[in-house]
Symmetry: C2
């Protein structure tokens, strides 16, 4: 049976020991987040995740959300859980104190997000989408908009959505057709159909606030003619409470592979009243403000599912008795040995552990950088941290979700036939994880973001924010005998990454299809090196602490680092070979030959 | 929307041109299967698959099978489709003429199986399981058992099951507890509970015949005490018709991730009457006779899902307009270019094409070998063909199902968010494919079968049946300039395979955990080389034929072969590195350290 316990020891390790999260208290607004407060937040988050959200995960999947006459009802227990969630202040953990929030560091917030996603990803979608709306309004909203909406988002009484996709456009938002007609009172009438709107309609909050991409009558074609609007389900009254029903309604909900407790809605805007957010025709900029944070959040969904799948697989591998160790019986008193004695099962478990904990460290690197990028004293510091975030966002989104899906599958595999049965809860993680590789920009789009934007911006400045610390670490530790085994493999991977970047930069200059053809391989190569860098840093830290540690935690870190380097890092060689082979064999095939085998 | 058209051109290519299937007519019993008969069979199979089975695939998934008071009802349309299926003679295509079958070559049968699995895998489970029962009885049954059951299996009025798994034992059949008590009349009373019994109960046939592993009272412990029994739902009357209800009944059905139209049953044996099949305590031998064929069949399920996922992805990539080509607009008259212009989408499509067609060729190699192993004139010939089958069975099972699952996922990915929505039919292939990596021996077990049995048997004789033709092909074509690019990459992969086999054989001798730790990597390495060998052979053939071919079919083959060599074969380098790193980092971790991160 699936099981979940928040990995608090590991979370504190990456937050505190690896990235000195307690030092964030020196940044403006974070003074309260001392070690004991951080611990208390983590422990309380663990409690609500384990005790309230996780028990609703299977039942929510089985029951799904309901739809009748435009009304969406969440599964049994969700409303009560959401009320506990808001009462505990969890919707406002990361929100600004000026709007009633607790103003916690983003890094701490990310750990809490991970727990929620492990425990019940579908539930997490409801408060989760609100974060994007909060960020967009905070950055681009007027003071009045902020005062009207942000306190409600913070206390969780209202929720937000992001209305981007339409039937004819997903990735290519330049094709958006929803119209925004200016009205005499300064508002706009929105008309059009949006699809795939997560939490677009539900029964958890008093109001639902849509952030909508639409086009004004005089807008230029393509993405340069897109503006962002705010359009609440109920129009706020002067006292701030929900008033008249607006013309935005749920026309249907989707039947999906997973996250069945989450309502994915068709939202029809029939002359709904909305207001411009930010500048006219600059909607894409505001959208990217939401999107970049959202992409990190989606990576963390993958991480959360990876962790919970690992825990289920590990428990089963210990309890299920099947076969005997290849080296001879381990438990003669039992009818068979535990699955965990078998090398292939151990390999799957170590793969899950190495990728999950490595990704958690990477998320901490990026999210402590977010805090520093926002609050550091000098612009130079802020820029440096932001550069790293820019560069690693596609890694966190794509690799976080790829390992979420892959590890969910390894969890099922360890369970064997029992993993395929719904009641054990393991196959749900696979179905839930599958969407994370798609939404907020497919992982293929993340790869294009890497080679097309992140690598080239400011003459490679983002890239240097990553390359420099890796290079420096390798140089500083090359002579340490205890680190040799690890640094050697990291350096191999890093060398391959440098060569691959050079190849793609050079060939892509004369032929952009060459950059496109190598993009996914490069993103994967960068991902393995990034997570490898995390493991090298964790091993370094653990080597200094392992002797005083009766729990074996640090010893386990060192062993996992070695596993990663010897068993997972080699993929970087294959990725480099594929990249060096270029894109010719991809672009060369005539379109009509793809199905020449179908003729009679 | 998902779509399916049988890939007849490619099927005829692998059957006829690549493996000279028409020459099978020279083998005893196959004289009738001339080219025109083979073509007619394929075309009729395409028709029933496309027109009858495929249209029931989505509805069957949505409705699922029903269970009430021990009775299983298949989804709407299944009974009518099954009646058409039996009326068309499809249940007897591969069965022996002496029992009313058409005695078609196994290779032809495999192509038909592939179509059924593409069109409706869940439907295919019902007649599919009967094949295993047929084979076991044909090999080990008494004349009376054969006369009673095989004609009914052949005309499809009765179906068969394989009852192996119990709650406490899946992989480890030595733990079987079901009891068989000898009766005075020579029969046995079977008592116990079997789980995960596909087609264990349903409404398609007049009788359901269980082949059951059970233990006699005096049986030695473990797998040496397992016998095989036949136990029909209705006891056959002297005239052969179904008589009294036997004590084998369906206690429950499983709620599964996929193949929802297929009934996966708990079968309770409450003193049910059964008869021994084959020798007492030699049940495992008979079970393996069923199992080996079944493993190839499961690989073909993966292949079928891979093909149908490819077709859906390709259609969508052509029709969906999104974004512009990186090299500049391709279709200025349209609001956006087709997805297929984008390098990453093309890469996904080519990956699907290369793996699907390569696996189809490999299946043809193995299944034409099955025909020759059974019917060749001399024992030496029969043995040589059987050796190849033995060696490649784990490849077909594990790699066939891995590509089935991976390509189903690529199909979803090309569809983006629409792939995640049930109505488009793409996500069903992912859910259906997932079980194939698990049942009939998980893919991890296939890897152990490779290193523990197939590599070592008869001092490596099975292995040589594969290594020799690959080596010979490389030598014969090394000097051909047109083949150089392809042979070079194949030789690289083959060299890595040889090195890896040497490493595992040597290290595994002193420490079996070393063999276990490298097994999955080795199976994957062997798989990529096997499919690479198929591509090299297909390219060679196509090079000689491309000039007279207005359709471009052969040109497409050559281009796909090059894609495979440059973009997919490099993984063999990473697999070799991982194997050479040994199993120490896998076995070295203390069990209790796997979750040291969970402490508070």
């Amino acid at each position: 049976m699936a099981t979940y316990k928040a990995p608090l020891r590991d979370m504190k390790f990456v937050y505190r020991e690896l990235f000195d999260g307690d030092a964030l208290t020196s940044l403006p607004g974070y003074a309260d987040f001392s070690a004991d407060v951080v611990d208390a937040v983590l422990e309380e988050a663990a409690k609500i995740s384990q005790e309230v959200l996780f028990p609703l995960n299977r039942s929510g999947d089985e029951e799904g959300r309901h739809f009748e006459n435009g009304v969406v009802r969440t599964p049994k227990g969700f409303k009560e859980a959401y009320d506990q969630f808001t009462a505990g202040g969890w919707t406002g953990l990361g929100a600004d104190p000026e709007f009633g929030g607790q103003g916690a560091p983003k890094a701490l917030n990310m750990l809490v997000e991970e727990m929620i996603c492990s425990a019940n990803m579908a539930f997490g979608m409801y408060p989760g989408l609100t974060h994007g709306a909060y960020n967009a309004l905070k950055l681009y909203g007027t003071d009045e908009q902020k005062q009207t909406y942000l306190p409600k988002f913070t206390d969780g009484t209202w929720s937000g959505t992001m209305c981007l996709t339409e039937p004819q456009c997903g990735t290519d938002l330049g094709l958006v057709r929803t119209k925004a007609e200016p009205q005499a009172d300064g508002s706009y009438n929105l008309t059009g159909t949006k699809i795939f709107i997560s939490a677009g309609e539900h029964d958890l909050t008093q109001n639902i606030v849509h952030l909508v991409l639409a086009r004004m009558p005089d807008a230029p074609p393509g993405i340069k003619g897109i503006s962002l609007f705010i359009c609440p389900k109920f129009l706020p009254k002067p006292d701030g409470s929900p008033g008249a029903r607006n013309g935005a309604s749920c026309g249907a909900i989707e039947q999906k592979m997973g996250i069945k407790a989450s309502a994915t809605c068709v939202i029809n805007f029939d002359g709904a009243k909305g207001w411009l957010v930010g500048e006219k025709n600059k909607g894409m900029r505001a959208m990217f403000a939401m999107m970049n944070t959202a992409r990190l959040g989606v990576g963390v969904q993958g991480l959360g599912l990876s962790e919970v799948s690992y825990q289920g697989g590990l428990l089963y591998a210990r309890e299920r008795l099947q076969g005997r160790s290849l080296k001879g019986t381990v438990s003669p008193e039992k009818p068979a040995d535990s699955l965990i004695v078998h090398p292939d099962v151990r390999k799957n478990l170590l793969t899950m552990k190495a990728l999950t904990e490595g990704m958690r460290a990477l998320v901490m690197w990026v999210s402590t950088s977010q805090d520093k990028a926002e609050k550091s004293a000098t612009e130079a510091e802020r820029t440096e941290h932001d550069d790293l975030i820019q560069f690693l966002t596609p890694v966190v989104k794509a690799f976080g979700t790829d390992i979420g899906f892959d590890n969910a599958n390894l969890g099922v595999q360890i369970f064997g036939g029992h993993g395929y049965i719904r009641e054990h809860g393991m196959e749900q993680f696979v179905r839930d994880a599958r969407i994370t590789q798609i939404y907020e920009g497919t992982n293929g789009i993340q790869a294009l973001d890497l080679v097309g934007r992140k690598m080239t911006a400011h003459y490679g400045r983002y890239m240097r924010a990553f390359f420099h610390p890796v290079q420096a670490f390798i140089e500083q530790n090359a002579a340490d005998p205890a680190m040799e085994e690890i640094v050697t493999e990291l350096a191999k991977g890093f060398g391959r990454l440098q060569q691959a970047v050079g190849q793609i930069a050079q060939k892509g200059m004369s032929n952009p299809n060459e950059a496109g053809a190598g993009a996914s391989d490069l993103l994967k190569l960068l991902s393995y090196v990034s997570v490898g860098f995390m493991w090298a840093r964790m091993a370094k830290l653990a080597l200094g602490k392992q002797n005083d540690d009766p729990t074996g935690f640090y010893k386990g870190k060192i062993k996992t680092a070695k596993f990663y380097m010897h068993k997972l890092m080699p993929i970087t060689g294959a990725l480099l070979s594929s990249i060096m082979a270029g894109g010719e064999t991809i672009m060369d095939m005539e379109d009509e030959l793809f199905d020449a085998g179908l003729a009679a």
